[in-house]
């Protein structure tokens, strides 16, 4: 440390220590404290708010804290919640006993949750950690959330290790909560425990472990996460697991390195199970992996081809569009044709680094290749990701065909939703939206069309 920074540290240290000393040593007058105490029980929340400001900052150290905390028992539940928050912000462990007592005696869920949240900010004590872990498995969602927040912010050098020690004996819901907490506390030293938990019998625990690894994992964890993907139930859990591995892979900036890491990881998996991970390969993407997957998608085994096509359909960008179109054109199997064409349209519509014009050109190509009304409808539906007025011009003629009209109406309002293309082409959009209003039978679509004509926006529900 050079001399200047040494002096700076000394000055900062002196300022901080004197500020702390002032906070704890300055004894407020009894009159001042009584005013605060009286206001804490005021019926008007704004008057209580004035008192709570003082609770957060008033001097006097532990004695003052204890005086404020002693009011907890005489206040209304709403006032208790406010005071618990202020005591938490005050951060003085002297309030812990009263807060804990209130948690144990109150039947009010909001009060109990506020008490749990406050305890996290008042520092570690021997009985606190087991209590918070127990509340993680509580029937009350509010208390669960509060316990999780408290475990995340709880201070102390040994807290993270103590939380980790609770994992083996915890019930599934608690264990999942503890994993989330440890991930939020950035507990990298618990990565081996997370990897073990990816194979847990509880789907909740497995999902939490994969999410934690997605958050904290790096190259060394990719191979170790793959058994977790295989263990995950097909559907939402498998999708989430694949995404978490893809997130870890995305931390490798170089395309080739990323592909190599994943291929090496796949080699650690039994060949019979490897095919099930092709979807994951698709999510990771990259030039080197295209060849790898495209080979499988065109193999002689129909089951392998299906997995390969599905993997290409999950690609994060449109670089595999030509491969999918080629498969769709060449196959003699109608089901395979449908699968590959759907993948081609999905991938062509992906909002990746291409321009909206490039996306639209792909959709026009897809329309030419479509060989049934169902495929045409799919193209008209996916067109909405090409944010350009030319897309409107492309889909508009299909509005006249009753079999496509409902899909085109939706696509037009989706395009109109984007002010950046709607406003500069207002007359053209207004005309199209008039047609939508006249044709559509869907009240939401009609309402949206009217809003966009008035220059208003529309909020998606859910």
């Amino acid at each position: 440390m050079n001399r200047c920074s040494g002096i700076a540290c000394l000055v900062v240290g002196l300022v901080l220590s004197s500020a702390t000393a002032a906070w704890s040593a300055k004894k407020p007058s009894a009159d001042y404290l009584q005013m605060i105490v009286k206001l804490l029980s005021d019926n008007d929340p704004e008057f209580r708010g004035i008192a709570l400001e003082q609770v957060r900052t008033a001097g006097g150290g532990a004695a003052t804290t204890e005086l404020f905390a002693s009011q907890l028992t005489v206040l209304s539940p709403a006032a208790q919640v406010g005071l618990l928050g202020a005591l938490a912000d005050r951060g003085d462990a002297a309030a812990r006993g009263s807060v804990l007592a209130l948690y144990q005696s109150s039947q009010d869920e909001a009060v109990r949750a506020a008490a749990i949240r406050a305890l996290g900010q008042l520092g570690e004590s021997p009985e606190l950690l087991p209590l918070l872990v127990r509340v993680l498995g509580s029937a009350s969602t509010a208390e669960q959330v509060a316990a999780r927040q408290s475990l995340i912010v709880l201070r102390g050098d040994t807290v993270t290790a103590s939380i980790a020690r609770q994992m083996p004996s915890a019930a599934p819901a608690q264990k999942a909560g503890l994993i989330e907490v440890l991930a939020a506390r950035w507990a990298r030293d618990q990565i081996p425990a997370f990897i073990a938990a990816t194979l847990d019998e509880s789907a909740q625990v497995r999902a939490a472990a994969m999410a934690a690894l997605g958050q904290l994992g790096g190259v060394p964890q990719v191979a170790a996460m793959l058994p977790g993907v295989l263990k995950a139930a097909k559907g939402a859990e498998r999708d989430a697991a694949e995404k978490n591995v893809a997130i870890v892979c995305s931390r490798i900036a170089n395309d080739d390195e990323r592909a190599t890491t994943l291929i090496q990881a796949l080699e650690t998996i039994d060949t019979a199970q490897r095919d099930q991970l092709l979807g994951l390969v698709g999510r990771v993407g990259g030039k080197k992996l295209i060849k790898f997957v495209a080979g499988i998608a065109t193999s002689s085994d129909p089951a392998q081809r299906k997995l390969g096509i599905d993997a290409l359909s999950k690609w994060p960008d449109a670089s595999v569009a030509d491969q999918l179109l080629e498969i769709a054109k060449m196959t003699k199997d109608p089901e395979e044709r449908s699968r590959a064409f759907q993948g081609f349209v999905k991938i062509s519509a992906t909002r990746d680094k291409r321009s909206d014009d490039q996306r639209l050109q792909r959709m026009k190509q897809a329309m030419k290749e479509a060989n049934s009304p169902a495929e045409q409808k799919l193209v008209l539906m996916r067109c909405r990701t090409a944010y350009t007025v030319d897309t409107l011009r492309f889909v508009l003629p299909y509005l006249e065909d009753p079999q496509f009209a409902p899909t085109v109406c939706e696509t037009i309002v989706e395009l109109a939703h984007h002010r950046e293309i709607r406003d500069p082409n207002k007359a053209e959009f207004d005309q199209a939206l008039n047609k939508v209003i006249a044709i559509s039978k869907d009240p939401v679509v009609v309402e949206r069309a009217r809003r966009y004509q008035r220059g208003e926006t529309w909020e998606r529900s859910g």
Binding site: K26, P28, S29, Y32, M35, I36, E46, F47, Q54
Partner: protein, 237 residues
Amino acid sequence: MSAESLTAALTALQQYDWGTDTAVLAAIDDAIAAAHSNESVRKDLEARLIAALQSNLSRDAKDCVCRKLMIIGTAACVPAVASLLDKPEHAHMARFVLERMPAPEAAQALRDALGKLDGNLKIGVIGSLGAHRDTGAVAVLAPALRSNDAAVARAAAWALGAIGTADAAAALQATLSSADGNKSPMIDGLLACAESLLKQQPAAARAIYQSLAGDDQSRLVRLAATRGMLACASAES
């Protein structure tokens, strides 16, 4: 900056009006910068600006001169500037000069003008006395609190609040206790006084807050008074 260019700029003032290129006056700004460390240069420049102000200039030219006097003006320019206080088109710029000038003559000129003005011109001067924080103006502002012109009374209340002394508060309190109608400006003024007094005279501030904390006051006033009483109690601790 040469003497010739300053003379040319002062001469240009005679023709100066809205839309004239301000570059013709640049030499005056240069002279102001040069006067910063040279009292004789400043004195000479002030005298020449006073002479310009008293000549037959356009409104915009007089505005420009006032802006320059606001920077370098002293008691010497007060009579010339104060003579504009009763002229609606120049009064605003005159007050702009006087309310920022620390010389006691400036405050005195504003006080002297008060009795001679009505309406907006009077309200403007009252506001300037507040902005100047002229403690000597309390005696002349207190009667204005009872003015029949509500806008004048309101301006006086706010000006006394800006002055913020115990005397100003006493004047407001005396009128408040006997006032009918809208008491809000006086309460605003009192709260402003209490806030000014809080650090130096917390007991006086607390007495004001206490007087406004009763149930006869609106909720917002009671909130402000309560917050103030806590601040006083904290300061007294």
